[in-house]
Subunit: 297 residues, 2 copies
C-alpha cells in the first residue's frame, strides 16, 4: 500500500470540552487514527490532527465535518481567530507514498460530499484551488461567517460544491490539499538577535531566499540565545539539510556557530530519509527501505 | 505501544516450494507480517523474515517452529549449509521502541515453549546465551544434526530447554536475541581495490577498528570501482554517520573520494534518525518524531 495522508480539520469550538470530545470521537476506525487535539479557548477553535490510509482518513474527515456542522452554531460563536464555518478548513496532506494529485482527489471527494450531503457551501483551496484567488485561505475567509451571507452572492464567490447560500448555523468550509509543514528552528551560538534576523532574511522566500521557507529571528529568553525560527512548506523540494547548511553558511559570516537545531511537532519519515540520503551520499534512499514501512503499510 | 521486533527463522528446507509455503503460511496475523522468504536450493535452507509487535511475532515464530518440526526430516536432509535442526536458528531482533532485554525475554519464552511443547532441545544463543561458549552459533552447531546424537550427552551441551536428547527427525534449535545487522557499502572513486582493502582493515573490529563493524574491500566488475563492503552489527553504538565519515577520512589519505554509499536490504527507522540527528545537530531525534510512528504504533 504505502500510502499515508494527514488531515487537520479546524473546528470553531475551543471551549466546550464535551462537544469537542464528541466531534473528535467519530475519527478512530481501521486505517485512521486521531493523533492530536489542540484547543484554544481564546481562539474558540480546535485543531484536530488525524492520519492514516487515504480512504479511511477521507471518511473520518467527512464524519468530523458532519459532527461539527450538526453541533456548532456560528450565530453564537465568538473568538479571536477568524472563521467562516463550524468546520472552518479541512486540509489533506501527503505524508508518504502518496502524491499531491491523490490528496487533491481526496479533497474533491470529501468537499463534494459535504456540499451535497450536508448542504454546506465548499471552497476548494490551496493546491486544490480551481482559480488563483482561492489558493490562500485568508482571501477566501475574508468577511468571515457574518459577511458570507452577502459575499456568497457575488459570482466570484460561488462555491465549488454545495448550495449557493451560506448554511444558517454552519457557514461554509474550505477543503483542499496542501504540503506538510515542518516547523524547524536553529539555535545560534550568540545572544545577538539581529544576527538571527539577518540570517532569517537571507533564508526566507519572501525576501529572495529559499522557496517554501518562512523564517524569522527570535530571542530565547530562557537560553539567552538567538534562534532562526522557520517553517518549511515543502520538504521534498527544500530538504532540511539544505536549510541547515545554508543557515550554517550565513552564520559563519558573523563568526557564529550553530548550537543545535530543533523539530517542533512531527514530520514524515521521508524528510529524514532525504537528510540521510544527502549526507551519506546514498542516492534514492526512501522510507521504503525501512523495516517499519514494510510492516505497517 | 511503539514496540517493533523482527524474527528471522532459518529452516532446513530450500527445495520443496509447497512445504516452504505451508510453513511460512502460518505467520500472518494481526500484529505480525511476513516480510521476506529467501530459499537457497544448494544450501537446502530458507531464511524467513517476519516482523511486527513482539507478542504476535513470538507466537508466529513458535508456529513456524512447530510447522517446520512437523514436516522437515533431517535424517534425509542434504545441503551445503551446516544445520542442526529442522528449524535451525530463531533470532529475535529489536527494530524500534524495544530493548535487547525485552527481545531476550521473548526468546526465552519461545525457547521454553519449543522445548516443552514440541520436545525439541533448545540452546539459548547470542545475547540470550547463559554461558559464553553458547554466544556464537557455529560453536553450538558444531557436529551438526548427525553429531548431536552424541554431543548432547556431554554435560557441557545440556540444552537450556527441552529434552536432553536430540529430536529424532528435527534435531535441535538455537533461539536468542541479537542486534539488527545493517549491510552498508561505500563506493570509492578509484578502481584500486587495495585501497578499499586497506580502508576496510582500519574500519573493522577484528583488526582494531570500530566495534561492531565487519569490513572488506571488494572490486565491482560492473562499475570498475573499489568498494568498502561492511556489516554494522549494532547501529545504536556504531551509527552509519560515524562509519561513513571514518571511511571518508581514511580515503582522503589516498586522495580518494566517496562516490556514493549503499544500503542492502532494509534497516530500522532509528538508524536514519541517528544520522539526521548527527548532521542536523538535532539532539534526541527519534522515530517517535515521525508521523508514521504515531499512526501505526
Amino acid at each position: 500500500m504505502n500510502k499515508v495522508i494527514e488531515c487537520v480539520p479546524n473546528i470553531s469550538e475551543g471551549r466546550d470540552a464535551d462537544k469537542i470530545k464528541t466531534i473528535a470521537g467519530v475519527i478512530e476506525r481501521p486505517g485512521a487514527r486521531l493523533l492530536d487535539l489542540s484547543s484554544d479557548p481564546n481562539h474558540n477553535r480546535t485543531v484536530i490532527t488525524l492520519a492514516g490510509e487515504p480512504q479511511a482518513v477521507a471518511e473520518a474527515a467527512f464524519d468530523v465535518a458532519r459532527a461539527a456542522i450538526a453541533s456548532i452554531d456560528l450565530t453564537h460563536h465568538h473568538g479571536e481567530h477568524p472563521r467562516m464555518g463550524a468546520v472552518d478548513v479541512i486540509p489533506f496532506i501527503p505524508v508518504g507514498g502518496v502524491t499531491m494529485a491523490e490528496c487533491c482527489e481526496i479533497a474533491e471527494q470529501v468537499g463534494k460530499r459535504i456540499g451535497q450531503e450536508l448542504n454546506v457551501p465548499v471552497y476548494l483551496y490551496a493546491e486544490s484551488a480551481r482559480v488563483p484567488q482561492r489558493r490562500m485561505l485568508p482571501t477566501i475567509r475574508e468577511g468571515e461567517f457574518e459577511g458570507f451571507a452577502e459575499k456568497i452572492k457575488d459570482p466570484a464567490w460561488q462555491p465549488d460544491f454545495g448550495p449557493a447560500e451560506r448554511h444558517p448555523t454552519a457557514g461554509c468550509v474550505a477543503v483542499g490539499a496542501r504540503n506538510f509543514l515542518i516547523a524547524y528552528n536553529i539555535d545560534l551560538d550568540t545572544s545577538d538577535v539581529t544576527i538571527a534576523s539577518r540570517i532569517a532574511k537571507t533564508m526566507r522566500e519572501s525576501s529572495g531566499g529559499l522557496m517554501n521557507v518562512q523564517a524569522r529571528g527570535i530571542f530565547l529568553e530562557d537560553k539567552q540565545r538567538a534562534q532562526v525560527s522557520m517553517n518549511i512548506l515543502n520538504f521534498a523540494t527544500t530538504p532540511l539539510c539544505r536549510v541547515f547548511e545554508l543557515v550554517k553558511m550565513e552564520a559563519a559570516r558573523y563568526g557564529v556557530g550553530i548550537v543545535n537545531s530543533e523539530l517542533i511537532g512531527l514530520a514524515p519519515a521521508q524528510a529524514f530519509m532525504d537528510v540521510a540520503s544527502y549526507y551519506l551520499q546514498l542516492p534514492g534512499l526512501s522510507r521504503d527501505a525501512l523495516v517499519e514501512t514494510r510492516i505497517y503499510e
